[in-house]
């Protein structure tokens, strides 16, 4: 019962953070808005990639709720890897706008890093618990 409860807490946390990465990157902490002429700034590509990886993580997180213990560990590891490699996307892998005060630099990138770190911690704890219990 107790184990189920702690697993449920981790399942909820993983699903919450993956959905936050996916939906939040389009709503709560998006990169810069389009220019008045409708064209996008250079940070738009990294916004799309983060939303995409967030969607993949959300699907994996949703799937792992219904799967067996062994598969859950594998999916947790996959979410850990995807979120880990999502963190350097804004600003390192793909460029952002050049002013640090702009939305993509001041809000989007820190938010992706923050959610990415939390996701790595939560999935890391989940993997550790599962491997420890064998």
């Amino acid at each position: 019962m107790n184990e189920e409860r702690s697993n449920g807490f981790l399942d909820f946390a993983i699903l919450f953070f993956t959905l936050l990465l996916c939906i939040g990157s389009q709503t709560l902490f998006p990169a810069c808005a389009p220019k008045p002429d409708g064209s996008w700034m250079m940070c738009h590509a990294s916004n799309l990639v983060v939303t995409g990886t967030g969607a993949i993580c959300s699907l994996l997180a949703f799937a792992r709720v219904f799967l067996s213990r062994r598969l859950k560990t594998i999916l947790s590891a996959a979410i850990f890897a995807v979120s880990f490699f999502t963190m350097p996307v804004p600003g390192y892998v793909l460029p952002l706008c050049r002013m640090a005060a702009m939305q993509c630099q001041a809000i989007f990138r820190p938010a992706v890093l923050f959610v990415g770190i939390l996701l790595c911690i939560v999935t890391g704890i989940d993997i550790w618990f599962r491997l420890r219990k064998g």
């Binding site: 107790n2 250079m42 002013m99 005060a101 630099q105 938010a111």
Partner: protein, 401 residues
């Protein structure tokens, strides 16, 4: 490992729901104290750096600029904006009694599409007379700024070629300044000749709202250093009285506007921290009392099995201290991560200079928060433990029979 600590750890892991609930309060408690104090400390640090960066005693701007622009935000907060007055003001101000040094500054705002998808404030200074900007440029760049060279604020990003283009004029980034935490980080600095070239280019492209003057004949602001022994306010008053069409403002008044806003904000954050702190302590007291009531039979059995009163108290206190230690560490880590990652956004949102304190200050603050968190948990649980150890074991075990 000590038996009591081991027992406490087992109790925590066997009841994850209960432990997580108490842990969350502890996280909130630590995050509120650490995060709130870090916010206040960062604002104070930002104001200190801004104060040291201003360098001048008096700032003289065109009188019309005071009504058209928020001069404070242009001078202190780097908000893109420009205004001009005749350059002869420089000689007029120099002639006022009590004035030791004067230095002109020339402003221009870049177009949004020039380099950065956002407008930048461009500040030109005279290298021969400047006493305000060059001292902090020297902290990162020892050379002389040639024509076409610029120094970028810490928030300005550029590519490996170190070239930025303004109004089709290429400028080379000679150095980048250290962070001040204010919007001065969004500005770029160059010598007056470079900025005159940029103004002429902006006029040629029809992008400057003032097209009828020669850039060589104007200045945007005059920074004034007052001689020792003279009253700054009085000298500013003399300038306002004797020099036409200008407004002289004592720099400390500019800063005090920011400082008074900051003081109000610090008080508000302090009240929030206090409220959250009291709420957390109250909630933790209620939670601990409820948990102890729920566990009275467990404690009674332990007493029957030979556990002494002091051992029982130590078990309860150990549990609370361990949870508060973990919760405190998580709360500190999360709030530090949040403030560190979002420091630019927080500065923009609060509209105050925002600069994180030094590593040693942060570590000291983290240690103090952890100590407060552990002490709070320890004291609350000690009160509960005292109540438990005074209970009549036989009565509890007979309850419900």
């Amino acid at each position: 490992m000590d038996f009591i600590v081991k027992f406490a750890l087992q109790n925590i892991s066997r009841r994850p729901g209960r432990s997580i609930a108490v842990l969350l309060f502890s996280v909130l408690f630590a995050a509120a104290i650490f995060g709130g104090t870090l916010l206040i400390g960062s604002m104070q640090q930002g104001l200190r750096v801004l104060n040291s960066r201003l360098g001048a005693d008096i700032v003289v701007v065109p009188a019309a600029a005071k009504t058209k622009f928020n001069v404070n935000s242009v001078l202190l907060q780097g908000t893109p904006g420009y205004f001009y007055m005749e350059r002869k003001v420089l000689d007029d101000v120099t002639g006022i009694e009590g004035v030791e040094k004067v230095s002109p500054q020339l402003f221009l705002a870049s177009m949004t599409a020039d380099c950065c998808s956002a407008s930048l404030q461009i500040v030109g200074f005279d290298p021969r007379s400047d006493f305000a900007i060059q001292p902090w440029i020297r902290e990162t760049y020892g050379g002389l700024l040639g024509d076409g060279d610029i120094v970028a604020g810490s928030n300005v990003r550029f590519t490996d070629t170190r070239m930025l283009k303004f109004y089709d004029v290429n400028c080379k980034v000679a150095a980048q300044l250290a962070k001040t935490g204010s919007a001065l980080d969004n500005a770029i600095y160059a010598n007056e000749d470079t900025v005159k070239r940029l103004i002429a280019a902006s006029q040629k492209k029809g992008m400057n709202q003032y097209n009828s003057f020669d850039p060589a004949d104007v200045t945007s602001a005059v920074l004034v250093k007052v001689k020792d022994g003279y009253d700054i306010e009085k000298v500013a008053g003399e300038i306002n009285l004797h020099v036409r069409k200008v407004k002289a403002v004592a720099a400390k008044n500019l800063i005090s506007d920011v400082a008074s806003g900051l003081s109000g904000m610090s008080d508000m954050i302090g009240i929030c921290i206090g409220t959250i702190w009291i709420l957390c302590v109250l909630i933790m007291m209620i939670v601990f009392t409820m948990l102890m009531n729920e566990r009275t039979r467990e404690f009674a059995v332990l007493r029957v099995l030979g556990t002494s009163r002091s051992m029982l108290s130590r078990m309860v206190i150990s549990e609370a201290v361990l949870i508060n230690l973990a919760g405190g560490a998580v709360g500190i880590l999360l709030s530090f991560l949040f403030v560190m990652l979002f420091n630019t956004a927080i500065g923009n949102l609060l509209k105050v200079p925002f600069l994180m304190p030094s590593v040693s200050t942060i570590l000291l603050l983290a240690g103090a928060t952890l100590l407060i968190s552990i002490l709070a948990g320890g004291i609350i649980s000690a009160l509960s433990a005292k109540r438990i150890s005074n209970m009549d074991t036989s009565l509890i075990l007979r309850e419900g029979e």
